[in-house]
Symmetry: C4
Subunit: 252 residues, 4 copies
């Protein structure tokens, strides 16, 4: 953790980054809702704005806090790093998750304010159904697999484009439009607009996201092997990550 | 092949990657169909989701299996590597192709489930016409040429963006919307939604894709020369691929 | 400043770059307005064209002038560099801002001419409301934070993609569609088309942008620390910027 | 020229690349026309497919021929290289331009065939007006400036993304939707579909493109200085292009 910024700035970055992310998601949803009658066009705008915004935020704040902006990423980082000492300590996990939730709510309020809506209006958009939860499991499992897969292969510098790209795809191919983030899910309950989720639907979504996290960790082990077993050559040394790994990508 | 993961994980990666790819293609098609009445908007969403998803999957799984996700890529890799020993052995080709097909079907079923559709419903979307087959020949020839052209010039690290970009273009400029993949074609028969293909149309599509593979190998020889003849300087050594090659791109 | 081009070419680049940027913004707005009745589709086209155009212009002219194209970026560069001597001198600030404004007006006139409109027609599009100003504060604060955050972490080579990506998101998630640039705001008053802004709304927008600049500088200090306090290791030496910083992005 | 492929393969690559480019432009236009009634959605699809396709083709064929696909780029390369011996010889210029034109016509015919249209049908789409010619001047000047600006600063490895991005913007912000290429203009006369141009409009478009080439060369001198005058430090040595130049981009 010593390579990142000091703890106070890490927590600040998680709050600011998550706030900005939710402001992007909610704000672009409101704008899209106001400008188009075609729900497909709305989701195109909403998803592309999120791809751009999320990628930029990860670039900006990655060097400060690692740019989690998401409790399941923080939890997965803690879990995979608990034996090696690489992950955040439990106290930091709590601090980050708290900052993410506070930031997410703040971001929703900011988006409401930018569009002259009431600062808080509980969403009335019910999202409560088994197939939506399956969507959240898939979206979150993929996200966790991606982030940790990049860590395992020493390619975290690709996180901005890969994480943003995954969310851009998952907006469309999962039935839930891929919340995949408990803090963002809570924040999106505070706005009765395109991107909102009724408070009564929040808990089940978070449950599905936690299930997805476990699935993602399982896929990680199946695809990348257990770290202890891992051939060292799979873990590229820091400092020269891309060349060796990716060169292999379609070679035999 | 020794630089990739062990065989079991290579096969697993091919199954998981192809499943995720088909889930993206089919799932985003269903979502687009539900949200927009404009078929152009639907295909925009479907194609952009595929660009994002495919690029991400190649980044993630490239270091494990080479990220083929496609029998024609596996076959082409075997063909071009059969004399040098660089390609997969025949047994591995069978294993990969089997995993790709199983994965593709699984991905279609998963997409159906995420959108609360019957797990399997045979597509009723006939795609049976000469001009569509020409589209498949073009799309597949281009794909094979790209993948092997990157290998020949030591730039496989560009595969995620180049392969995804090609498919993004080919969705639109080929009349068949560019299946270009026998496993994915089979998988897409299992869903009676936007991205489906009637089972009776599958075989001819696969035939066209195999023709395209041969055309692509022909173009490869015409453009990049036979490997035996090739000036060694064209094949950049691994580890420093991009700088030398691409710098040349518009210089004289 | 010695690494950039001589002063005359720096000023020329700022004028040409800002002109091209405004021509892109205004011209794509006119085209979109003519081709689609769906305002969402219009803004999609307008925002994507701007993302592409802005990114390209920063790549092209970055080595000449630093590719500010924006008085608040020039001012922020002067402010943060005033003690270290890294920023532009006050006279150069004036020259750049003048060139940006002249360029912006020229770009709007060029766009009008390309679409056979009167060379100048004052916009009648009122954009005068508190929530729009809040949008400008957010958009500009984010822009300033991004540009200076990249400078602080030695990653200005990522500016083309990051700045363009931010504007692409902010077009949608801010209520004002993110002008975030006083020179561009002035230029956009000269066209009574999709991207225009009524002259009577200009001054308040510029005021909001200046407030946003201050907010951005505050966020910079909160997230990246005061430069004097900054651990030297945070400021990557030139020449090897990306590897060290970004590798850290989601590691612990 | 010795770093590229032998002459025969250079010419082949120019023909194949230009054919593929026109197939992408024309084919995606037909598909878009068939799927959407909203002309804005059509141009979005057409422009995004072109961005993807053009970028991929430059990556693929850059190492073979420099990926001109465009007579004005070949001419500009000849002009700027005529004293230093860096450019193509006059005979090669002729060969390339011939290959580009033949390829462009072939690409249009291929696109017509893929969509079951008559192989050749002269376009009836008149594009004959002063403001359209101004659009072509702007689009072509920008293209020439970009390509040669990258050469001058040793960053031709960025050509795929920069050239594709410019065309993506110029599709929208120029009134002519940015043909910017005499060979492609000729090819597009052979299809009476969305992307077509009436034969009677072709010559004036090509004239405007040649004017744009001269304007681009003028801008190049104004922004990057005459090569003879140029401070050597501006021309990065091959092999380490990106780091030094782009790092400077927003620094002072």
């Amino acid at each position: 953790m010593t390579e990142l910024a000091p703890l106070g700035r890490r927590i600040t970055a998680e709050a600011v980054g998550t706030a900005a992310l939710v402001a992007v998601v909610v704000g672009s949803g409101i704008q899209a809702q106001q400008l188009s009658q075609d729900v497909g066009v709305r989701l195109l705008a909403n998803s592309l704005a999120t791809v751009f915004g999320l990628g930029v935020l990860i670039v900006l704040l990655g060097p400060i806090s690692g740019a989690h902006f998401n409790p399941v990423v923080t939890l997965a980082a803690w879990w995979t790093g608990r034996t090696t000492g690489d992950g955040p300590a439990p106290r930091e996990v709590l601090g980050r998750v708290g900052a993410q939730i506070v930031g997410a709510v703040g971001g929703a309020v900011l988006a409401n304010a930018m569009f002259a809506k009431p600062l808080v209006s509980w969403s009335t958009h019910e999202r409560f159904a088994g197939h939506l939860w399956l969507g959240e499991v898939v979206a979150t499992a993929g996200l966790v697999l991606l982030v940790l897969g990049l860590v395992r292969t020493g390619r975290t510098h690709l996180a901005p484009i890969v994480v943003a790209g995954w969310i851009g795809a998952a907006y469309w191919f999962t039935s839930s439009t891929s919340f995949a983030n408990p803090a963002v899910t809570i924040g999106r309950a505070f706005t009765d607009t395109f991107a909102g989720i009724a408070p009564s639907s929040v808990l089940a979504f978070i449950g599905a996201q936690l299930v997805g996290t476990v699935v993602g960790l399982g896929l990680l082990a199946a695809l990348f092997g257990h770290r202890a077993d891992a051939d060292e050559s799979v873990i590229a040394p820091h400092g020269e990550p891309e060349q060796r790994d990716v060169t292999r990508s379609t070679r035999h």
